[in-house]
């Protein structure tokens, strides 16, 4: 992995560990300076471990053209973000993520978060609120710049990571991906809204990137990163638990092989344990709690499937048409070549099917549930899907050139 990619991965995993340590310090009642010390030690050793094991020093220098394309793409992304810049977080930022952070920054009162009833979603995992709360306490000010800073960094890091991971395979594809994100107003709007979905998307993308590197190098450190990314995704949102479980199932042999199992556990276990600890305080999830006998009738109700399909098509056409076109082109290519889609794409399809099943059995009004979350779910899968499609397209184009 090149140095810049490792630094981005380190930043993401560092945020994951930071939130875990902070939440644990709240439970243990540790003073802030001890927590800060532990976080600094953890991120320092994490960087040393990553840089020692996976930074490729032999990556050849890119051409001036590549650097120019990257700079231009990033500039376009920043300009689009400036044009779409909000002046405050969206509804869920105030109602959920920053709201939870306000409790978690209070060492004496953080447990009161779970006294909140309706509309507070205190069962949602706390990676983002813990990060915000920790940074608020360090800065000594409860400023909205902290959640916005995290949101901006995440929104920009996704296209940057995608570019860094694809430009050596095919510069045109890398440039197209960068531009497609820079002109996607829905992506930028969601990203800057201070919600946790883009952060989840980033962790999920990180898992795909590290698994790809593992397959190319068979270096178990990548399994540690991949497991850490999946753990962070679980600790970010409840959807992350489902996505991570599907990912682990798809690569179960790799994760549990004798060579890798220690790395898998070292990567994922801290997050699983923190999540279990958090869930021991939190109420049950409303979607799970709301299930009863009507679930069966919902499962066989064709109109629900139809409504979900219509909604997702609407969202794809309105906000994510590049993704739709890329997916269609890839499926047509697979049909012509008479081959199955790549394993990671099948994984993403199962993830999507998981979302559909959640909608099918939702105890909420289906139309309301779809209207408030469908585009966010597409956002969660968008970066990983673009990455997988970029790899497939690069491989196909390279193969054609060689013939």
């Amino acid at each position: 992995m090149q140095k810049n990619t490792v630094q981005i991965i380190w930043l993401a995993l560092g945020a994951g560990y930071m939130s875990c340590i902070y939440f644990l310090s709240l439970v243990a009642g540790l003073p802030l300076f001890i927590t800060v010390f532990i976080v600094l030690v953890a991120v320092f050793f994490l960087y040393r471990f990553l840089s020692k094991n996976i930074i490729e020093e032999t990556v050849e220098s890119p051409s001036r053209k590549t650097t120019l394309v990257f700079t231009g793409g990033l500039l376009l992304l920043v300009l689009s973000s400036l044009l779409l810049l909000p002046y405050q977080g969206d509804w869920d930022a105030l109602g959920i993520w920053n709201f939870h952070a306000r409790y978690l920054q209070q060492p004496a009162y953080w447990r009161q978060l779970f006294h909140n009833g309706k509309f507070s979603h205190t069962d949602y995992p706390a990676l983002l609120p813990s990060c915000i709360a920790f940074l608020w306490r360090i800065t000594g000010r409860e400023t909205e710049l902290v959640p916005f800073g995290i949101a901006a960094l995440t929104t920009l890091s996704i296209p940057v990571l995608l570019f860094l991971e694809t430009y050596r395979k095919h510069i045109i594809i890398a440039a197209l991906i960068m531009i497609s994100f820079a002109v996607n107003t829905a992506y930028i709007h969601q990203g800057l809204s201070q919600y946790a979905d883009t952060l989840l998307a980033f962790f999920f993308l990180g898992a795909f990137v590290s698994m790809q590197h593992y397959r190319a190098s068979i270096q178990p450190t990548y399994i540690f990163i991949c497991a850490g990314m999946l753990g962070s995704a679980m600790w970010t949102k409840n959807e992350g638990i489902m996505l991570s479980a599907i990912f682990v199932l798809f690569y179960i042999k790799t994760f549990l092989s004798r060579k890798n199992i220690a790395y898998t556990l070292a990567g994922i276990l801290p997050f699983v344990l923190i999540l279990l600890l958090y869930k021991s305080y939190a109420p049950a999830n409303d979607l799970v709690q709301g299930q009863h006998t009507s679930t069966i009738s919902k499962l066989v109700d064709v109109t629900r499937y139809k409504l979900i399909a219509e909604y997702f098509l609407l969202k794809l056409n309105a906000n994510f048409y590049v993704l739709k076109i890329a997916l269609l082109a890839y499926l047509i290519y697979c049909a012509i070549k008479k081959q199955l889609p790549a394993k990671p794409l099948l994984l993403l399809t199962v993830c999507f099917a998981g979302y559909v099943m959640v909608y099918i059995v939702t105890p909420n009004d289906l139309e309301w549930h779809l209207s408030t979350s469908a585009d966010r779910l597409v956002q969660q899968l968008l970066p990983a899907t673009m990455y997988v499609l970029a790899l497939e397209a690069s491989a196909a184009l390279t193969k054609r050139r060689q013939q």
Binding site: N4, T67, G95, N116, G117, K118, Y167
Partner: protein, 120 residues
């Protein structure tokens, strides 16, 4: 890729967005800002570990979310029950309520704020 250049760009880009956000936020005086200013009086008299009930006729979830956020870490629960022990009312600014046992009240262009403590 030139590692140093990428690092500079990666640090610079969110920095630009942060600065822009800072100035944009400062230029906007939102309903939440107005509410925040008003609730300072209430925050001074309601202990941090207490539970309040919130009532805002007609039902106004957005304002409830804002008030709940601003009053955290106090617990603020939505209710229509007018007999709950401590109720924080947000009424239209010109409303005349028949509420008794008013512990705190204030008015601005958005709302008439009242904290009621019902004796039990």
């Amino acid at each position: 890729m030139n590692s140093r250049l990428v690092n500079i760009l990666i640090i610079l880009s969110p920095g630009i967005l942060l600065a822009a956000y800072y100035f944009k936020t400062r230029a906007h005086y939102t309903a939440t800002d107005q509410l925040e200013q008003k609730l300072q009086g209430l925050q001074a008299i309601v202990p941090t570990n207490s539970t309040l009930y919130f009532n805002c006729p007609p039902e106004n979830l957005e304002t409830y979310m804002q008030a709940r956020y601003l009053l955290a870490p106090r617990t603020v629960l939505y209710t229509r029950d007018t007999t709950a022990d401590t109720i924080f009312y947000l009424l239209p600014p010109t409303a005349i309520s028949g509420n008794k046992n008013i512990a705190w009240q204030s008015t601005d262009s958005q709302f008439h704020y009242q904290l009621i403590i019902n004796p039990h």
